[in-house]
């Protein structure tokens, strides 16, 4: 089967699941589908660095968390009617999703710029350890900063609004997340074929030749890292809105690991790999979680098997004939 077809089936399947659940009046299933869309979005972000760029970032929870806190901070100020800042200029909190998304994207992109600029001075195993460490730094910062809930996190009582939609209705919120996911997938698909994407992939394969044609691998990778951080940050804002809750756990190393697991279970450098991976993860959590409190053991075993024996993930197994776009 061709990868293009698998992608279409995956997205259609996700949409159909949510619509069917809507028809059968099962809001919990819609929420699960929404969770899949959001986590897939986070994975799509990571897949730009991991798949296209070949940079193993184990710190993407940093951006996921920043997106979450962008939502939490803005919305908590709005719900308490306290301004975010009074001097030198008055900034009010907001409950409007588009504004929150913009803030989440810009702030996680800025964080990715700083973290990326430092981390990309290293390669290989160093890069993994450094990104992991910066993620942990933000985790401890979120815990020790009492203004926004510290260790307890922040609760937002009413989901933020989007002009013209009732976001409290699960299917409408799902629709919003699904459309965002599709738009980002379209963007990433274009990115992979654009000169930038080709140069980025070349910088992963043979950095010396990229340099020889006058491009800077460092800059290419940094731009990719920033794009990737911004997308994961957007996913973080959506995830916080889904739960109406943010906590330092969004910054934890487990979150980084899990986002990476979505990408791997689905297939690295596959456009819709994260969608397949996130769906599989949520299904496993749902089924195995019902079977046993200790379902992470089975997840670990499955992951080991995928890494040791089934390289290429789900999509890699189905679309064997077609190589990942690298």
């Amino acid at each position: 089967m061709r990868e293009r077809h698998i992608n279409a089936i995956l997205l259609a399947g996700l949409l159909a699941t949510a619509l069917a659940a809507w028809g059968l009046d099962q809001p919990f299933t819609i929420t699960l589908a929404t969770k899949v869309a959001i986590l897939a979005l986070a994975g799509v972000g990571l897949n730009i660095t991991l798949g296209l760029g070949g940079m193993i970032s184990l710190g993407h929870a940093a951006f996921f968390g920043i997106g979450g806190y962008a939502m939490g901070i803005l919305a908590s100020h709005a719900q308490n009617y306290t301004p975010l800042m009074e001097a030198p200029l008055l900034i009010e909190g907001t409950k409007s999703m588009p504004v929150i998304w913009l803030v989440a994207i810009v702030s996680s992109a800025l964080a990715a710029l700083v973290i990326g600029a430092l981390s990309l001075r290293t390669t290989g195993a160093y890069f993994i350890m450094v990104t992991l460490a910066f993620g942990q730094m933000l985790y401890y910062f979120a815990i020790s900063w009492p203004a926004y809930g510290g260790e307890d996190g922040l609760s937002i009582y009413v989901r933020n609004g989007f002009p013209g939609l009732n976001t409290l209705d699960p299917i409408q919120f799902f629709g919003l997340c699904f459309v965002l996911l599709c738009l980002v997938l379209l963007f990433v698909a274009r990115l992979g074929r654009a000169p930038f994407g080709l140069a980025l992939m070349a910088a992963r394969q043979v950095p010396a030749r990229v340099e020889a044609v006058g491009l800077s691998p460092y800059r290419l990778q940094l731009v990719a890292f920033v794009l990737s951080g911004a997308i994961t940050g957007l996913a973080g804002a959506l995830f916080a809105d889904l739960n109406r809750f943010v906590s330092p756990a969004m910054f934890s190393w487990q979150t980084s690991g899990e986002i990476m697991v979505f990408v791997i279970l689905g297939g690295v450098a596959r456009l819709c790999g994260p969608v397949a991976g996130a769906a599989l993860f949520i299904l496993l959590e749902h089924w195995l979680g019902a079977l046993s409190e200790f379902w992470h053991i089975y997840l670990g075993a499955l992951l080991l098997i995928v890494v040791l024996f089934a390289r290429g993930g789900l999509i890699g197994q189905i679309a064997k004939a077609e190589a990942a776009h690298d």
Partner: protein
């Protein structure tokens, strides 16, 4: 008073530092010799602590508990090396990260399954508890002092092992050229298992020693693992000397930052804001230190450029 407090905090920093060294030394050896990044090292730390707590609970002997932590962590290390890790040496770092992440999940949930979710407690034995008076009239807990000394003795032993013994020569040769030493008739597979078990034993011992001053619980290993990564980035991968210097730097920066930064900010800020900013900054101090090292020495202080 201030200089007494400073001295006490320096000792606390040293104690954290030598424990981090036990973790980082194993990690850096494993990376240097086998080229493997091992996220599951924190799980071995946890295994050591749980083994010690279980044996201490059953027998009441702290020394037996320490022996158990060494044995259990070394055994767990050898088992995962033979079962899983061995297949990863020729893989890229991504596969290593994922497989060892999977091992963390299995170890953590497995431990929760066996021991339950509640923390265990490992008590400091009577003959090591209570304070001692150091020259200058400082009261300091005897157990922490023993940890520092034990850590320094193990560090010295490790340097001797690597620098002066036949096995150390093989380990260093393995870092330099693995095919060559295999050609010289050294069983490289056995050597790898040995190095991995050695690193695991050090981590397990650290877990048991620290477990007696903190609680023994699932997930205790990963924060320490990440600190050990910071140590390695600062010290340079593959360098045991770098790990030692890096560990002490990180231990001292963290401890001194936490105890003095809030006060330092109090000099020019109002107290409540100073506590907030100071403690938030203190929690980030070691990562800022790491960022500084990355700016000037991307390969770490003792890494080969």
């Amino acid at each position: 008073m201030s200089s007494l407090l400073l001295f006490e905090q320096v000792l606390n920093g040293l104690q954290l530092g030598v424990m981090l060294f036990l973790m980082a030394a194993g990690l850096t050896l494993i990376f240097g010799v086998m080229g493997l990044i091992n996220l599951a090292h924190g799980s071995l730390y946890m295994v050591g602590a749980f083994a010690a707590a279980a044996v201490a609970g059953a027998t009441g002997s702290f020394l037996l508990a320490l022996a158990a932590s060494l044995a259990a962590a070394a055994a767990a290390g050898a088992v995962i090396e033979v079962g899983v890790i061995r297949r990863l040496y020729d893989r890229d770092h991504l596969d290593q990260v994922l497989a060892t992440f999977a091992l963390i999940l299995i170890f953590s949930e497995g431990t929760r399954w066996i021991f339950g979710s509640f923390p265990l407690f490992l008590d400091v034995p009577d003959y090591l508890s209570g304070p001692v008076t150091l020259p200058g009239g400082i009261q300091y807990p005897l157990y922490r002092l023993v940890i520092i000394l034990a850590g320094l003795v193990i560090a010295a032993g490790l340097f001797l092992l690597i620098g002066r013994t036949r096995i150390g020569i093989q380990i260093r040769a393995g870092e330099a050229d693995r095919e060559m030493i295999a050609a010289l008739g050294i069983d490289i597979t056995r050597l790898y298992t040995l190095v991995f078990a050695l690193g695991a034993a050090l981590a397990g011992l650290a877990g048991a020693l620290v477990g007696a001053i903190q609680s023994v619980q699932v997930g205790m290993g990963e924060p320490v693992l990440i600190l050990a990564f910071v140590v390695i980035v600062i010290g340079g991968i593959g360098s045991v000397k770098g790990a030692f210097i890096g560990a002490l730097l990180v231990g001292l920066t963290d401890t001194l930052g936490r105890s003095f930064l809030p006060g330092l900010f109090g000099l020019f800020m109002e107290p409540s804001a100073a506590t907030t900013v100071g403690s938030a900054l203190a929690s980030m101090a070691i990562y800022i230190l790491m960022a500084g090292v990355l700016l000037f020495r991307p390969k770490g202080l003792f890494g080969v450029a």
